[in-house]
């Protein structure tokens, strides 16, 4: 017996990885086609193609964010060395608590991310000639959250994989780059987003 609904997970992927009002029409079209006799593999191919096309479009429209995050991450290496050194040498004395060093480093990393976000907002508002931006408030917590989650998740892998301190530094810098990119991802002029909402 033929199923009337497409695979749940494929639909979930489609709706969560290709968000936006315009993609509602695409989602409805795929469902209509599936119910008119298309196969499950056809549905999956269409979903994966939609995700790839949407991702490519998102990346193209955020090239400025990537460039800024990369440029901010490179000099931040110096900041990192200072942060780790000072946290490792002082936090344990100032705060008599086992995780004081980690906390100290985290605070310094978060400060660096927030400084990066502030610099991005300033640069973006100058280039766009529009200081009425939205998404910066979200960026304040997204960056630290992304950094914390990824760092905690990959921490247990260092020893089994036999990674050196240089690997660790490179990975951490990449995580920092991703976190800053995530912070600035949704920043856009408020007026443009409102007019877009009206059109769609």
């Amino acid at each position: 017996m033929r199923r009337t609904n497409p695979p749940f997970f494929a639909t979930w992927v489609l709706e969560h990885l290709t968000p936006g009002d315009r993609n509602n029409a695409l989602s409805g079209d795929l469902l209509e086609e599936f119910r008119s006799g298309r196969s499950t593999s056809w549905y999956w191919r269409q979903v994966l193609s939609a995700v790839a096309i949407n991702s490519a479009r998102e990346i193209r429209s955020h090239l400025f964010v990537f460039a800024f995050a990369a440029l901010w991450t490179i000099p931040s290496r110096a900041w990192w060395i200072f942060a780790f050194w000072s946290a490792a040498h002082s936090a344990g004395f100032i705060l008599p608590w086992p995780y004081a060093t980690t906390l100290g480093m985290a605070i310094l990393v978060f400060l660096s991310l927030w400084a990066g976000l502030a610099a991005y907002v300033l640069l973006y508002s100058i280039t766009e000639r529009n200081s009425n931006l939205e998404g910066a408030g979200r960026g304040l917590w997204i960056g630290p959250l992304v950094f914390s989650i990824i760092t905690v998740a990959i921490r247990p892998l260092y020893r089994p994989l036999g990674l050196s301190i240089l690997h660790w530094e490179a990975i951490t810098l990449f995580v920092y780059f991703l976190s800053l990119t995530a912070s600035a991802w949704k920043i856009k002029p408020r007026a443009a987003s409102e007019s877009k909402a009206k059109v769609s």
Binding site: A25, L26, S27, G28, D29, L31, E33, R45, Q46, I53
Partner: protein, 114 residues
């Protein structure tokens, strides 16, 4: 020269999509447009690539769109209908003229392929 630089010329997929939109008239939304392309290209079409091209064409002002009714068979999601604008019609005529002129310069090739 300046006039030429301002003109829009359509790529292969874009031209096919605009022609399908004109042909389908009031029924021009994602599913029939994709079916029409599949029928003539004789291979599977990614519906999202059709939408990406439609978005580009809409951005250039060559087509316009409106939301239609949401139906149960589509999971309550509305159809998005497309229509060619006057600028779109001008552009396909221009593209056709350019292609025809180029083909006429190659009579031998035309004889071989026909």
């Amino acid at each position: 020269m300046e006039e030429m630089a301002e003109r829009n010329y359509l790529g292969e997929l874009e031209l096919m999509i605009v022609l399908a939109v004109i042909y389908l008239d009031d029924e021009a939304y994602g599913v029939p447009i994709s079916r029409e392309l599949e029928k003539h290209r004789k291979r599977e079409v990614s519906v999202s690539s059709v939408y990406a091209a439609l978005d580009r064409l809409e951005g250039k002002g060559l087509i316009s769109s409106r939301l239609g009714e949401a139906t149960q068979e589509r999971g309550g999601k509305a159809r998005r209908y497309f229509q060619v604008t006057q600028e779109g019609l001008r552009t396909i005529h221009q593209t056709r003229r350019v292609l025809t002129t180029l083909w006429q310069k190659l009579p031998e090739l035309e004889r071989k392929t026909s």
